[in-house]
Symmetry: C2
Subunit: 232 residues, 2 copies
């Protein structure tokens, strides 16, 4: 592999992306021999995410192909879906990609790009049901595979997704070497990472915080879905 | 807490930092009410880490205090230790901090700053033994606490560290809410995250890759330790 062109993994980011959705997989992929992770944005403009600014980005318009398309999620996903330049780039890149992938609500963007019709996909647990607006089949798996589409669940699922894909792109020995190098032997101090495991008061608190934006979010996604379907 | 000044968590980064060492804890802390994570560098210069560029950083010189000092690791740690402006900033910030913390080889920087004398500390497994050069006691724990010093093991241990500290800074319900929001219910596809769990061929491969730089690394850290001790 070292003598051929590197496999290019594109992360198309946008304002309001959740940075860990791409920084975690990026860290894992950056340790793989023969693989080149690239972060891109519309016009190559810097992106501020949760207070961090990512600069020196590649303009999405200048990327004409990739081996892996990996779309991260975030509260900005509904705005990204409504940006025709962003969504067109996703569609174009998906055509060339050997794997079309996402982390968290990035799967809603894949859905809006028309890439998940009839496909099973993962998503952040609180947004998962919205996948069906785009004809996809919500799947509660942490890493879900349907043909060449591999999607991860919410945020930190991006690590398990990255290791899964790393083994596909290289081999299980190399993938595990990266796992060892990054000491990925998780030991969460609490067991609250999913709605069915979290204590009742924790789940109630998160649902209450989310309720404030849920109707706005649903309305935005329904508009997106209408738009996507009317264009067919 | 919402009516008082936010708790400031400083991540002092440097060229050659491992980005996930700070991006992962940053993501968790950024979801905590009443907590303000801040990324700083010498002169506020942008830092490129593993191909990602972080911009809009706060000049370390302009930060006069913090509630939590969190030093990330990376291959650049030996250079950072040898930069007097960086190391002095670490020492100054540690004086004001309620918690002095690190992820991965960030503990070697704490050690070089004279902050770990006689203290137990975690570090990336491959670098852990070097802690003793600085008078610290290497501890194989994933998250290690000794008084107000909390250190995490290699790279991804930063997530477990962050959740542990989040519960201290707020309370366990809020920490678990962040865990649920970031869907941290890890499910690694392989069990190779520590030397004792990794298959023999995986460990041999990683050790062989590391052997290429081990003697250079050891020499650099021994020089740092001599320098630190001669200044006492």
């Amino acid at each position: 592999m070292s003598n051929s062109a590197p496999l290019v993994i594109i992360f198309p980011i946008y304002s309001g992306v959740t940075q860990l959705d791409f920084t975690a997989p990026y860290q894992f992929f950056s340790r793989l021999p023969g693989v080149k992770p690239v972060v891109a944005s519309v016009d190559g403009e810097p992106i501020t995410a949760d207070g961090l600014t990512f600069a020196d980005l590649i303009p999405l318009e200048e990327v004409d192909r990739c081996d892996v398309l990996c779309v991260p999620g975030g509260f900005g996903c509904t705005d990204a879906i409504q940006d025709p330049r962003y969504l067109t780039a996703i569609q174009t890149l998906a055509e060339s990609a050997r794997y079309v992938t996402s982390v968290c609500t990035g799967s809603l963007i894949l859905g809006a790009a028309g890439l998940l019709e009839g496909k099973r996909a993962a998503c952040h647990w609180a947004w998962r049901e919205f996948l069906s607006l785009f004809g996809a089949i919500p799947d509660p798996g942490r890493v879900v595979r349907d043909g060449n589409i591999i999607t991860g669940g919410g945020v930190t699922a991006g690590i398990d997704f990255a290791l899964t894909l790393a083994a596909e792109l290289t081999d299980p020995t190399i993938a595990q070497s990266v796992q060892l190098g990054l000491e990925y032997a998780p030991a969460p101090p609490f067991n609250a990472g999913t709605p069915d495991r979290a204590p009742a008061d924790v789940l109630a608190r998160v649902r209450s915080l989310m309720a404030k934006t849920a109707s706005k979010r649903r309305a935005a996604l329904e508009r997106c879905a209408l738009l996507v379907r009317s264009e067919k």
